[in-house]
């Protein structure tokens, strides 16, 4: 074992986890490209050579795609996009034209085409899009290797378990790593939004990128500690380092597995309050997985998908089949179906003509439905019919007045009569709830309570409408804040009214899955949460380690704080005391593979 100087390096953590092992240096340096003038008569040959190299590259990528392990299948698009780049006219046709016009070798022609594309990418302001030049470069390097007869030095051919150290790894390299041997990897280039990073997370391989000179500072066989949570690398660690990281690693792994193992147990606070933790979803094929993650029902079943994916409006029968299946799978737990929450601009034909300057305040959701009774009726009917097969509830979005609820209830009564007449079974007591997401609905929650079987607070829209912030507008998005004192006051008021009128209140916005918001919500009296399914096991664990009685004392203090920032820091400090694991494991559930 080589004993060298202890060095610490800092890079960008792209995939969580800690590994301790031997360095295996991989040569992924860029190929030096020669320039050669060729004779006019050799042009066809040169073009043929280029075409062949591309053909081989395509074969290599498609073979790789076919061999892709199951857990990478959902990322197969990365390889698809590389195959598309191979034949893209900006690369392929441009290179062939260059060979023809300039009478130069294929390698140089390809290099020039790449430089031109690179120049175009460098003018893109959006960092995320401009970074895709890396994918183009990976593809170009592959073609170059094929052109110059470099055999791919397969990373999969490593002898013993080790940590890969490379200048760069292409997504294709990463996808072909042998995870039995490769413990993790670190690279000089790249960042957390690269496709390589996405694949590392999918493979659950700890990885740190953007280290700049790691390949020069690390020698083959050096012992390395890679901390994928913080981006820290220790080369030639001492005994103390090894002890510290071994312990940290164990702690994490114990916690992670216990969180997942306990996912199906109920979430009960230390002082005995049972919290129902449900999932937000929109796809039927996701529903099975929800149960495994410990979801006790679907607190928000989004229904827009079927309307958007069909070329027309789905039939009653199609909707019924979908709702029925979801109800059956989740039974006896509830499936709370939100009625159509989109505007006419989403439909083809006659509706598409509606031109709104401000769609968020326009004809959408319940407003659209009440203007297009046929569409609404067919959905409500499908939901009622599905109610015979499980615990189905109806939830109305964007309610801003009592009239909308009354009008909807009239339609539902009408449908019930029709179903009775046709002797079609349904649950006559199907609950009808209201999503409180417009400030006016919160202000009149006491009036709405007379006509609702339950309330669900849709915090995403409620925050937008209350703070007058368009979340999609980069200039003001930073003002969007669930800890705004107005928001927690509104939530407190809705819970109070719910208790007074004895109707359950739940929450279905992103706040419900936020580890800093959840304790606050529970202390305010919230007993039902519906969130992104991935957050469920972790949130359940968090709930089991807090006490409502204790947190109530915090509430008094929190309501005296006057800014979002104060409230957030208060909650963060408090949660670090109550649930120190928030640091250790949070990122595992929250580091989502959104960036692709």
């Amino acid at each position: 074992m080589s004993v060298g100087k202890r060095i610490e390096l800092k890079g960008i953590p792209v995939s969580p986890g800690i590994v301790i092992g031997k360095a295996h240096l991989v040569d992924r340096s860029k190929i030096k490209v020669p320039l050669r003038k060729i004779d006019k008569k050799d042009v066809p040959y040169e073009i043929e050579r280029f075409k062949k190299a591309v053909e081989i590259a395509k074969k290599q990528l498609s073979e790789l795609k076919n061999k892709l392990p199951d857990r990478l299948k959902e990322h197969a698009f990365i390889l698809d996009s590389h195959m598309m780049i191979l034949n893209d006219s900006m690369l392929y046709d441009a290179t062939i034209n260059r060979i023809k016009e300039k009478e130069i070798n294929a390698e140089w022609a390809l290099k020039e085409s790449f430089e031109e594309i690179k120049n175009l990418f460098s003018q893109i302001e959006d960092a995320y899009i401009s970074e895709r030049i890396n994918d183009v470069e990976n593809v170009v390097q592959r073609i170059l290797r094929n052109l110059m007869g470099h055999t791919e030095n397969e990373i999969s051919e490593i002898g013993e378990k080790s940590i890969i150290v490379a200048q760069d790894l292409s997504p294709a390299d990463t996808a072909s790593l042998d995870t039995k041997k490769v413990m993790g990897f670190i690279t000089d280039g790249g960042g957390s939004t690269s496709h390589t990073a996405i694949l590392a997370r999918a493979l659950k391989l700890p990885a740190v990128m953007g280290l700049c000179h790691a390949t020069k500072q690390i020698e083959d066989g050096n012992i390395l500690i890679v901390d994928g949570d913080t981006g820290k690398i220790i080369v030639n660690p001492d005994d103390e380092d090894i002890l510290y990281y071994t312990e940290k690693k164990d702690q994490r792994e114990r916690l992670r597995s216990s969180v997942l193992k306990e996912a199906n147990k109920p979430a009960i606070t230390l002082d005995g309050y049972r919290i129902r933790v449900m999932a937000n979803t929109e796809f039927l094929n996701e529903v099975y997985a929800l149960k495994e993650l410990g979801a006790e029902g679907i607190g928000l079943y989004r229904t827009e998908f079927q309307y958007l994916s069909h070329s027309g409006i789905p039939t009653e029968e199609e909707l019924f089949e979908d709702y029925k299946k979801a109800a059956e799978i989740m039974s006896p737990d509830p499936v709370i179906i939100r009625t159509l929450d989109i505007g006419g601009d989403k439909f083809k034909g006659e509706f598409a003509k509606i031109n709104e300057t401000n769609p968020a305040l326009g004809l959408r959701a319940i407003r659209f439905c009440l203007k297009n009774i046929d569409i609404f009726r067919s959905q409500l009917k499908a939901i009622l019919m599905a109610s015979a097969y499980g615990n189905v509830k109806i939830m109305l979005p964007l309610i801003s007045s009592v009239d909308e609820v009354l009008e909807t209830k009239k339609i539902i009564e009408d449908i019930k009569k029709e179903l009775d007449k046709k002797k079609i079974s349904y649950n006559p007591k199907t609950e009808i709830g209201i999503i409180l997401e417009v400030p006016s609905s919160v202000m009149i929650a006491d009036l709405l309570a007379w006509f609702a079987d339950f309330f669900s607070i849709g915090t995403n829209d409620l925050i937008q409408y209350t703070l007058a912030i368009d979340r999609t507008n980069k200039e003001v998005a930073y003002l969007y804040d669930p800890f705004h004192p107005s928001i927690i006051r509104m939530i407190r008021e809705v819970i109070r009214i719910g208790q007074e009128h004895k109707i359950p209140v739940s929450i279905c916005g992103e706040m419900a899955g936020d580890p800093l918001c959840v304790p606050l919500l529970i202390a305010l009296g919230m007993r039902q949460l519906s969130m992104n399914s991935r957050a469920i096991p972790f949130i359940k664990k968090l709930i089991r380690s807090i006490s409502v009685k204790e947190l109530k004392k915090d509430i008094e203090k929190i309501f005296k704080l006057s800014t979002s920032e104060e409230i957030r820091s208060y909650m963060l400090a408090r949660m670090k005391e109550l649930f120190p694991e928030i640091d250790i494991i949070g990122d595992y559930f929250y580091m989502q593979e959104q960036r692709q």
């Binding site: 698009f77 990365i78 698809d80 996009s81 598309m84 780049i85 893209d88 006219s89 900006m90 690369l91 594309i117 175009l120 990418f121 003018q123 893109i124 302001e125 959006d126 995320y128 899009i129 401009s130 895709r132 994918d135 183009v136 496709h195 998908f305 958007l308 994916s309 070329s311 989403k346 083809k348 999609t472 507008n473 980069k474 992103e510 992104n532 959104q594 960036r595 692709q596």
Partner: protein
């Protein structure tokens, strides 16, 4: 047949590799030619690199044109992709 429409990029990440690949895939499955216009720049919808270099972050409005016998079908499916935020909306 020619179909024109304005579409807005709604997904958080804009037109990046996955979304652009979905568009190219769709375009290649149709006979109709697909064009995107942003400002005064016009590109063809079957080139992933052109789509990427058109640089369309979230919120970008694009004028889209499909020309060919199955243009309507292409446009309908494309619209659904955009509306669905390419399956990325939370």
């Amino acid at each position: 047949m020619e179909v024109k429409k304005k579409l807005r990029v709604k997904n958080e990440l804009g037109l990046h590799a996955r979304s652009a690949a979905m568009i190219v895939d769709l375009a290649k499955k149709h006979n109709a030619k697909l064009y995107f216009k942003k400002g005064d720049q016009v590109i063809e919808g079957d080139s992933i690199l052109s789509l990427l270099t058109l640089a369309c972050p979230k919120g970008t409005e694009l004028e889209v044109k499909a020309v060919g016998e199955d243009a309507q079908d292409l446009m309908d499916k494309l619209t659904a992709l955009f509306e669905r935020g390419f399956g990325e909306l939370s």
